[in-house]
Amino acid sequence: MASTSRGDSLPKVQCPNHPDAILVEDYRAGDMICPECGLVVGDRVIDVGSEWRTFTNEKATKDPSRVGDTQNPLLNGGDLTTMISKGTGAASFDEFGNSKYQNRRTMSSSDRAMLNAFKEITTMADRINLPRNIIDRTNNLFKQVYEQKSLKGRSNDAIASACLYIACRQEGVPRTFKEICAVSRISKKEIGRCFKLILKALETSVDLITTGDFMSRFCSNLGLPKQVQMAATYIARKAVELDLVPGRSPISVAAAAIYMASQASAEKKTQKEIGDIAGVADVTIRQSYRLIYPRAADLFPPDFKFDTPVDKLPQL
């Protein structure tokens, strides 16, 4: 077992047979394992994963292997605080019955707002069932913005909502502003403002939204089968390619395409239903639909099974 420290600031651990191999950390056992030969190079590494659970038959009120909450080094700036728990026994209470050592509260006061925001982000993301990777990305973005302090005056919730929006966009699964508004108490205007400010502060940019990004979500919320969803995606893409809807928001075009595809299939959805799901007014769907209706025959995919033929599509 070799732990060669080369006099760098960090002692580098490497396998003696394969010095170039990158060691794999197995945190369950606290080992560093060489992937080439399987040699356990460094053991007794501190396990920073979540606390282990002991399953004992005895009363489980006191679990002696508790070591505290998971360490979140990326986001907390090394929070190694000590918390004093409530005492047991008579000696821990002073007169009047109050407990001595009341210090249960202050932990990392400098990052209290950040922790609060993380909690808020997790709550918001849970409401729309966002996966862990988006939440992590949001937390990272929030941390960067918070440390930069350029948006210090803005409400933390607004920044958190905007970070959530940016994270969804960056992961390739954009959510509309209205969807983020639905899970946040901040107005769309304020989220939009914070969004632009954050992009400027972090000097990043995001890709433009396309109609296809929302198809699967809207169609499954409406309960439309896969063929209709694929047809709607095709219609929307074709409509944008043929430039039938210049200047229209991609959400409105997507909604109109879903309307056309659903009306041509067996599951017909009304404009109101689609408008509710997409967050688009039904007059907007009507406007975009009027623009794509004249070329309807060209927009459908070639292998589409029409329940209602193209000339019988509703015309409004």
Partner: protein
Amino acid sequence: MEQNNSLPPFPQGLASPQGAMTPGLPIFSPMMPYGTGLTPQPVQNTNSLSLLEEQQRHGMVGGSGQTPQLYHSQVSTTTALPGNTPLYNTPLTPMTPVTPATPASESSGIVPQLQNIVSTVNLGCKLDLKTIALRARNAEYNPKRFAAVIMRIREPRTTALIFSSGKMVCTGAKSEEQSRLAARKYARVVQKLGFPAKFLDFKIQNMVGSCDVKFPIRLEGLVLTHQQFSSYEPELFPGLIYRMIKPRIVLLIFVSGKVVLTGAKVRGEIYEAFENIYPILKGFRKTT
């Protein structure tokens, strides 16, 4: 050479501009250099505003540093026709970097029209807004909503916000001269009501212009190539917001080809910004 002095004589302490070319020079003088290669010259330009810009540049680059805003708006002479060829000076820094347009390309031949000018002036004395609101015509004053008197005049059609400190904001004029004239009219109204109003520090704060490039534009392409300047969020606003660094102008570019330019302190900035953006927009013309 006629100086259209519709204004009462104002402190003429500041002399005529240094440099050979004075603003009063008639447009069709043979002394005007036609093409110098500094900026692309229009072959035929009915307004000949860029020509004027050229000669000013020549006149200015020789000696003057940055001439102040106020001075230019004072000395510039205009005919009363809005939107036509009012003579103006472009205050320029001594080392004016040449506009990035290649000399070989033609200029657009399109001139942005000014739509709105916002200016401020200090009347120099404290005002009692209540008496102004009661005695003046076309004045509204609702202190619970906003702490200023909102006064309107019909010619030039403008609106003024008059504050109790004596400062006034004048909006809605279509040219610099009209803005100044309107501000003077408001000052005269206030003066007639008995306040010792003066006309100090007239300054144009913002100018808005608009024009049409007459072809549809691919905004998605533009935002891809000019990411650091553009912001295009169809969910938030249907137009692309282009923040040009030099000159510092914000342009709203729409799919239809209409362009709105704002944030200028002088007319030349609007023209310069449009000349800068026009070749870029031509590159993103929709082909169908």
